[in-house]
Symmetry: C2
Subunit: 296 residues, 2 copies
């Protein structure tokens, strides 16, 4: 795994620089908004979505310069979703990545607008820079990406999440919520990374989609396990908050041991999904291991 | 003007139907989110941005089916901006188009997510449907559109607006704020409508940009005049709220009579900008008149 650690550190470093270059300067008007956008995008995070885009791009021999751009775009959407998710009317959280959340560090209105502007910036990036040799395919990439963010994707998942607080929901309902809330953007990260490279056969895209679905769910199951087992310091965000908020989780619905077994099954499935890609999928395999074995 | 009234009614009717067709069904999950998105997009509004896109499309002989799509996209962004603008952490308004604002009718979290999802939907529309014969030009359209929404466009203008409350600002600063806050999306509406049709020369696009800039500013100046002179019933939104919030306006900085003269000058400039387009710009001319002469 040490080779993987080097690679993931490299991706994180590349990302930090790319995000910083793509963000508006803190010296341009409106300064406070730009400061908030930078505060919530830079200096932390696991950069899981960029790693997924980079690893998927290796399968299709994609140009790293293009992969940086799509990775930054998905990461900006992720950052925006966290800012809005932390707002008082949503999860009302004060701690994120070991630092005050955006609306605590700045104010609620600035946090709201920073999220709004980050979403627009993400789509600006994928329409401004050349990401693939065909403009038609680039339009398809934007289409996948925007769908993943909307009411049948991430925003929809957050709405279902809110509606499920204090309610009894079933395991399939929980899964459906997570497929939208986190799965859609994870899937888009894999799709966009892969589409930066050579054209894919339909069945190849299906394999990548299956991989992304397994990894996306595994990510959430492990999140629930960590939220139950870890402490606030280690997580860098408030631990145990799902139980406190009476939110259904994989642990609360399945129990801890079955949730761990489920994460292992998803890991096995993720490996199976990318088998046909041979060595080019090694980073995708290692990344799936990392997502399931992580401790924060 | 009666011919213009017929035309504007027709655009509004076309829009209502197009928006409804493009919005997620209220019967699909998550229902409450979809209901909020529909509530804030349908059943009202002056549809100024769609009219601008349609009128600009007449200059380039654009296909009306394409104009409906870009018009809907800009109108969804407008609807999202109003939802977020009305939230308690922003303008904290309870009345919009004569009805309760989204967070009053639903709840704050749903309003936040409805705005987020409408922004994503707008960009999904312009990447999913064929809007022009060249995919490269369509990517440029998305680029113009996303820039107009971000921190150097609408969201940035809202941030400057917030920062200017209770502050002494100059007329150029007020103008800069409005160029971002409302001007950017109005300019994008004209650009996107025009780009649905035949290719434009650089100087033709400059003429349209100048038209859009005049009309965008005039719209705001007249808004300020109406906010000062009209009453809540007529406006369908809370009147006099800018003074109450101690927000700088054209009326407060210039005085009422000079603000009215300024609106007239902008109208003259808007006419001059589109002179070279001949009869094809008639709707753009009428629309500028309508924006300056309106009473609500």
């Amino acid at each position: 795994m040490s080779d993987f650690q080097d690679w993931s550190r490299q991706v994180a470093m590349d990302m930090e620089r790319t995000l910083s270059d793509l963000l508006p300067s803190p010296n341009t008007q409106p300064q406070r908004l730009h400061a908030a956008m930078r505060y919530s995008s830079l200096g932390g995070g696991k950069r899981v979505r960029p790693m997924l885009a980079f690893a998927a791009g290796l399968v299709t021999d994609a140009d790293p310069a293009r992969l940086k751009l799509v990775s930054a775009a998905v990461e900006f959407v992720h950052a925006y979703s966290l800012i809005h998710d932390d707002l008082p009317c949503m999860d009302n959280d004060i701690l994120r990545r070991g630092r005050p959340t955006c609306h605590i560090e700045f104010d609620e209105a600035t946090a709201l607008l920073a999220g709004d502007a980050l979403q627009a910036l993400a789509f600006e990036i994928v329409s401004t820079h050349k990401l693939t040799d065909s403009a038609e395919i680039q339009l398809q990439m934007i289409q996948h990406f925007t769908k993943a963010c909307g009411s049948h994707g991430m925003a929809g998942g957050q709405a279902i999440d809110l509606a499920s607080v204090n309610k009894t929901i079933t395991l399939p309902e929980l899964e459906y919520m997570h497929i939208l809330k986190t799965g859609a953007l994870i899937r888009a990260s894999v799709q966009l990374g892969a589409l930066c490279g050579r054209a894919l056969q339909a069945n190849e895209m299906q394999h990548l989609d299956r991989y992304a679905k397994c990894v996306g769910l595994a990510f959430q199951v492990v999140d629930d396990i960590l939220d139950c087992e870890s402490n606030t310091e280690k997580l860098g965000k408030t631990s145990g908050k799902d139980q406190d908020a009476n939110k259904p989780t994989y642990v609360s619905l399945m129990g801890l041991a079955p949730a761990k077994r489920f994460a292992d099954e998803l890991l096995t499935d993720a490996h199976a999904a990318v088998e046909s890609f041979g060595e080019k999928a090694n980073r995708l395999r290692q990344l799936a291991e990392f997502i399931v074995r992580r401790e924060s």
